[in-house]
């Protein structure tokens, strides 16, 4: 219950601070198992996507986060694991096991997951090449919908290397589910997924909405 309250407070804080509005352009908020994948530009990304989701979906959508950062202290672990129901993974495989195993367990239970396949935070200008984890999850869970998410303006809230917050309004834009294409190589799939996120950036078409 405390964890739920903390989650709600965090969501309200993020809403007040950066707006975090959800815009569904190619899909609708539906309670089905989904793999949301987004560009990664700031510390607020996870909270921004969760805040943009309707409340019912938020409870069943589990962000994937790095254990080396979020497992660092008891408080961080409480926020990540209890309040945000994050799935913590070992980015470098230091735990010895398979880093994606807990993510697959969450999907197998019917939860949705949110991942940032760039692996690290970018400058917000372009979307970096994706790591291969998304491909493996897509292959093992063909029934889970792959929803590209583009986070706009978050890099401007708190750019890498700064701790000052500029409260511009951020938008999480949810695109159309990625279709399965038989016979596609891993590299082709990852590039298609990457451009699905990049194409949701309104600046690419030269017109902001």
């Amino acid at each position: 219950m405390i964890a739920g309250a903390v989650r709600q407070i965090l969501v309200i804080l993020v809403r007040v601070l950066v707006g975090a509005r959800g815009e569904w352009v190619g899909s609708a908020p539906e309670p089905r198992t989904r793999i949301y994948f987004a560009n990664h530009t700031s510390h607020f990304d996870t909270l921004a996507v969760l805040s943009a989701l309707p409340r019912g979906l938020r409870r069943r959508t589990r962000p994937v986060a790095a254990r080396d950062y979020w497992g660092g202290s008891a408080l961080k672990r409480f926020v990540a694991e209890d309040a945000l129901r994050a799935v913590l993974i070992d980015r470098d495989g230091s735990g010895g096991g398979d880093p994606l195993e807990p993510v697959e367990a969450a999907l197998a239970r019917g939860d949705s997951v949110l991942i940032f396949p760039e692996g690290t935070r970018g400058a917000g200008e372009t979307v970096a090449p994706f790591r291969s984890g998304l491909h493996r999850l897509a292959e093992r869970f063909p029934d889970a919908e792959l929803i590209p998410v583009h986070l706009e303006n978050l890099a401007r809230v708190m750019p890498k290397g700064s701790f000052l917050i500029v409260p511009v309004t951020c938008t999480a834009r949810f695109g159309a589910p990625l279709r399965q294409t038989p016979g596609e190589t891993r590299a082709e799939f990852l590039e298609r997924a990457r451009s699905a996120v990049a194409e949701l950036d309104p600046r690419r078409e030269g017109t902001a909405t």
Partner: protein, 308 residues
């Protein structure tokens, strides 16, 4: 009943009529296009209820709440400005200082009633300090236009807008809260009347490039109606009827150019609305654009002619 009471009663009456007429129009609308227009009209009316209650409540509670309300509006307007206007990482510190230092100090000076520093703090000190700090980031790309954006953003959304509550500082010998009410009511009535006259009689577009919905018929009708309201509200103010006509004409003409200029900025940035927080209207900046231009002009006209 006091003049303030009459204005509040009048506003409630207008909103009640608008709500009833809107419900009736919704029942009659047949075409999808007509339904969309009516749905937007009714969303606007609902938002007007909320805005009227917040503004009237803040004004009734006193100068401090009024100033704090405008500080909040400035914050939201500045946020909407920077959500659409581009910036580079080198502007980050200047933006942070705009939101969390310049804006609070400027409104703090207003709370304190220190007019001298209030008048120069942003146009002199903030305008010198912010670019100085930006240079420390070492990024010279587009430096002139980036600095211009930082400064004009602050000027429009904070400095100009704050001249509405700054009316509270003036010693006109009358209740200055009524001057704030006068300014806001005349400017907003003008916007609404331009919209209504435009929808009813609009034929000739005023400037399709900048603001496609504005028509010459809407402008003339809206201005005339708002000036009439301004004359009728003269008892709120220290103005005679003729002076009230002049003052409200200044408010509606300045207010019109406020909407017009901010519309040009918005279109330059590739957007239709500044934001989404006010249902049917868009953002805060879409609603206060006329006040941004009208407030400082009304403030200075009043300060020059009606204070000792």
């Amino acid at each position: 009943m006091s003049a303030f009471g009459w204005v509040i009663a009048g506003a409630l009456a207008i909103l009640t009529v608008a709500t009833i007429v809107g419900a009736e129009l919704e029942r009659r609308a047949k075409t999808p296009e007509g339904r969309a227009t009516i749905a937007n009209l009714n969303a606007r009316t609902r938002s007007w209820w909320v805005m009227a209650l917040i503004f009237g409540g803040a004004l009734a509670l006193g100068p401090t709440t009024t100033i704090l309300l405008f500080a909040g509006l400035s914050f939201m307007a500045l946020r909407e400005f920077w959500t659409l206007a581009p910036s580079r990482p080198g502007d980050h510190r200047a933006l942070f200082l705009s939101f969390f230092v310049a804006l609070p100090i400027h409104y703090g000076l207003l709370l304190d009633g220190w007019y001298g520093l209030f008048a120069v703090f942003i146009p002199v000190y903030a305008f010198l300090i912010l670019p100085a700090i930006s240079t420390l980031a070492g990024d010279v790309k587009d430096f002139l236009s980036r600095t211009a954006r930082v400064q004009w953003g602050l000027m429009l959304t904070v400095y100009m807008l704050s001249h509405a509550p700054a009316l509270l500082m003036l010693d006109t010998g009358s209740d200055t809260a009524m001057l704030v009410l006068y300014l806001v009511v005349v400017a907003q009535i003008s916007d609404v009347a331009q919209y209504v006259f435009g929808k009813l009689f609009g034929r000739t577009r005023f400037s399709p490039n900048v603001s496609p919905s504005k028509t010459v018929e809407g402008l003339v009708g809206g201005w005339a109606f708002a000036v009439l309201v301004g004359v009728a509200l003269a008892p709120l103010t220290p103005f005679s009827l003729l002076q009230a006509a002049g003052m409200s004409l200044a408010i509606v003409v300045a207010g019109f150019f406020g909407g017009f200029v901010l519309s040009a900025v918005k279109r330059d940035l590739g957007a239709k609305d500044w934001g989404y927080v006010i249902q049917g209207h868009g953002g805060v900046l879409d609603r206060v654009d006329s006040i941004i231009f009208a407030a400082p002009i009304f403030f200075h006209l009043t300060r020059y002619w009606f204070t000792p």
